[in-house]
């Protein structure tokens, strides 16, 4: 018996070794392709900037990192907070937050509506939600511009109806960016919520009503806890791309209201400060990572409670 056990153990060991060998190419590619560029960015963020972009190789400097949050006053040379960057960080975070909340507000009822249709028509509704994905992001953003600009659909209609005399200035404001992001990211909220909602056992809802729960109670105590993973997944899917949005603020914000994506682009382009650009990119990644950690903790918590 002992012999047989040993053979089995040896076979197991060989099995494990084979598995590692077989997955080695994939692991190497993932390590090189996924983390390699990150290390390049990290290295660049610690070098001195070149005169016309690029970095000076072999130098070491913390300038890139300090200037993410601080700047030397150009006139009296005192170190102060870089309020330009803080303004942009704050705009990115708050606009992404509002986008998440508002897409949730519109996305939840939409998903509920779809999930409560008969299975055949459900497919049609989901299909309709995904249609915007067929169109290029840039084109959808320009379409939004046609809707909200001074001579656009909304303003012309309101003026024709006599509601307003002067066109509403929506274009080139933070509101325009927010509207654009809600429009673009709404499907990313609807689909995960719908996926959770579809699995929801509506008999539980009926049971809730039978036990004299009001509509609000049913929503809060039964539906919401059961679809919470979908809500969190949707929020993450909306919040993360919003943080790094580039095209939408560029087209709808008029180049005057930058978000983080635009600030990073500026550093690699006209700003000619690659170390700072790399440092801001990594900062953005850390922000996203924090958001993801939050998700993982919440998601595992809810699974523990209901799984």
């Amino acid at each position: 018996m002992a012999n047989a056990e040993e053979t089995a153990r040896a076979a197991d060991a060989r099995d494990i070794r084979d598995r590692w060998l077989l997955s080695a190419p994939a692991l190497v590619i993932i390590l090189l392709a996924a983390t390699g560029p990150l290390f390049v960015m990290l290295a660049y963020s610690f070098m001195l900037k070149g005169d016309y972009g690029d970095v000076q190789f072999g130098t070491f400097s913390l300038d890139g990192w300090t200037s993410v949050l601080f700047q030397r006053d150009m006139f009296d040379d005192t170190l102060g907070l870089a309020d330009a960057h803080l303004t942009i960080f704050w705009r990115s975070i708050s606009l992404s937050f509002y986008t998440t909340v508002l897409t949730l507000l519109f996305g939840f009822p939409t998903a509920y509506f779809i999930a409560t249709r008969p299975p055949k028509t459900r497919e049609v509704w989901v299909f309709l939600v995904t249609i915007p994905f067929w169109t290029n992001l840039l084109i959808r953003t320009f379409a939004m511009q046609q809707v909200i600009r001074n001579e656009g659909l909304v303003n012309t209609a309101l003026m024709a109806l006599g509601v307003i005399k002067q066109p509403l200035q929506i274009m080139n404001t933070d509101t325009a960016i927010l509207l654009g992001m809600i429009y673009i990211y709404l499907p990313l909220m609807v689909l995960p919520i719908y996926a959770s909602m579809e699995k929801l056992d509506f008999r539980l809802v009926e049971a809730g009503y039978d036990l004299y729960a009001g509509r609000w109670q049913v929503l809060r105590r039964i539906i919401f806890p059961l679809i919470k993973p979908g809500v969190i997944a949707g929020s993450i899917l909306v919040f993360i791309p919003s943080l790094g949005a580039y095209v939408i603020p560029r087209v709808l914000g008029g180049g005057k209201n930058m978000m983080l994506g635009n600030l990073i682009e500026l550093q690699f382009g006209a700003g000619r400060n690659w170390p700072l650009g790399a440092a801001i990119s990594i900062t953005l990644m850390v922000l996203v990572m924090i958001a993801l950690l939050f998700y993982v903790r919440n998601a595992s918590g809810s699974e523990g409670a209901h799984g």
């Binding site: 016309y52 972009g53 006139f75 330009a84 960057h85 080139n172 008029g254 005057k256 382009g269 006209a270």
Partner: protein, 344 residues
């Protein structure tokens, strides 16, 4: 089966067509957006049987950054005067010696011994113009020959102004407006420049490049922008008027250069020679509405360009115009800092 045969024939016909039309080579041009006459390109393609591809950029720095990064595949670039020395110093341009080309005799003497390329060893003139004021006179009827339009805007224009996001042009106008000289390192004055811009910026609507579309449509009521674009706006909407800031305004000239790592050097040289021909230069100007530096091209220009108020500087304001020269790296650094504060 019939449709299949038809489809196959169509595909082969297309392939054959593509083969014959593009057999002679390619030329990849990297130029400012909305700046290259399609008719002129078509003529070049037909004359030399070369397929031309145009890629846009929106600022000198973007172009410089992209080309420096390598792997761009472009043959020709069109940097502004004050950037040409940087391109040369960085070793990015080919010394193509356009001054020895056949059509060089057409270049106006005024544009031969230019400070950024003495004797024209690297570049040939593309177009030149100036940055000035465009105002929709239906919205504001006052004096528009002043930078106050965007630095101390009248209340009718607050929130309706677009300013070109070009650091040098904006800083030049502001420094002049506050009584300084270009490339000044006087910190007292520069502090005022920054404060003035930071104070003015909330009164602007945008810092964007889509003026030829949005000024005539009424999205913007005033702009600080390039004269050719404002002229194109005026043609679409006659209420637009052009103003020359009396405090000072910058001239610019963009010049065509061949990149050192160009793959189609021969075609690029053909192109350089081609655009120094008066008729072809006139086509460039007729499209983008800027003057070119080629003698005799006026004869081929459309009538509306010869006495356009955007192109003929009034004699009493001509002295206010100045060419942007490159400043020292220290001064440039100061200006970049001011610009970041403005752009946040």
């Amino acid at each position: 089966m019939k449709w299949k045969t038809t489809a196959a024939t169509a595909v082969f016909a297309l392939l054959a067509f593509a083969g014959s039309a593009y057999a002679e080579g390619e030329l990849n041009i990297f130029n400012w957006g909305d700046y290259t006459s399609p008719e002129m390109i078509k003529k070049f393609e037909d004359t030399y049987k070369v397929k031309v591809t145009i890629t846009d950029y929106d600022s000198n720095d973007t172009a410089l950054a992209k080309v420096r990064a390598g792997g761009h595949g472009f043959d020709i670039v069109v940097p502004s005067a004050n950037y040409v020395p940087i391109w040369v110093k960085e070793g990015l341009l080919l010394e193509a010696r356009p001054d020895q080309m056949e059509n060089f005799k057409n270049v106006d003497e005024r544009w031969v011994n230019v400070p950024w390329d003495p004797g024209r060893h690297y570049t040939v003139p593309w177009q030149w113009g100036l940055t000035g004021i465009g105002v929709n006179t239906k919205v504001y009827g006052g004096d528009i020959n002043t930078s106050a339009i965007f630095l101390d805007p009248p209340k009718e224009l607050v929130g309706k102004i677009n300013v070109a996001p070009e650091m040098n042009d904006v800083l030049f106008a502001t420094i002049k407006y506050l009584g300084g000289n270009w490339c000044t390192d006087d910190k007292e004055l520069l502090k005022k420049v920054r404060d003035k811009l930071v104070e003015a910026k909330p009164k602007w609507l945008a810092m964007d490049y889509s003026v030829t579309e949005k000024l005539p449509a009424g999205d913007y009521s005033a702009v600080y922008y390039w004269n050719g674009a404002i002229m194109r706006s005026r043609i679409k909407n006659p209420d637009i008027k052009f103003g020359y800031p009396k405090e000072g305004f910058p001239f610019f000239m963009d010049s065509v250069a061949i990149l050192k790592d160009a793959k189609n050097v021969d075609n690029a040289k053909l192109f350089m020679n081609f655009i120094m021909d008066p008729e072809n230069a006139a086509m460039i100007s007729a499209f983008a509405k800027y003057a070119n530096g080629i003698k005799g091209s006026k004869a081929f220009m459309p009538a509306d360009m010869k006495d356009a108020p955007e192109l003929v500087v009034p004699p009493e304001l001509e002295k206010a115009g100045e060419f942007l020269t490159p400043c020292s790296p220290e001064v440039q650094q100061l200006y970049t800092r001011i610009w970041t504060d403005v752009q946040k």
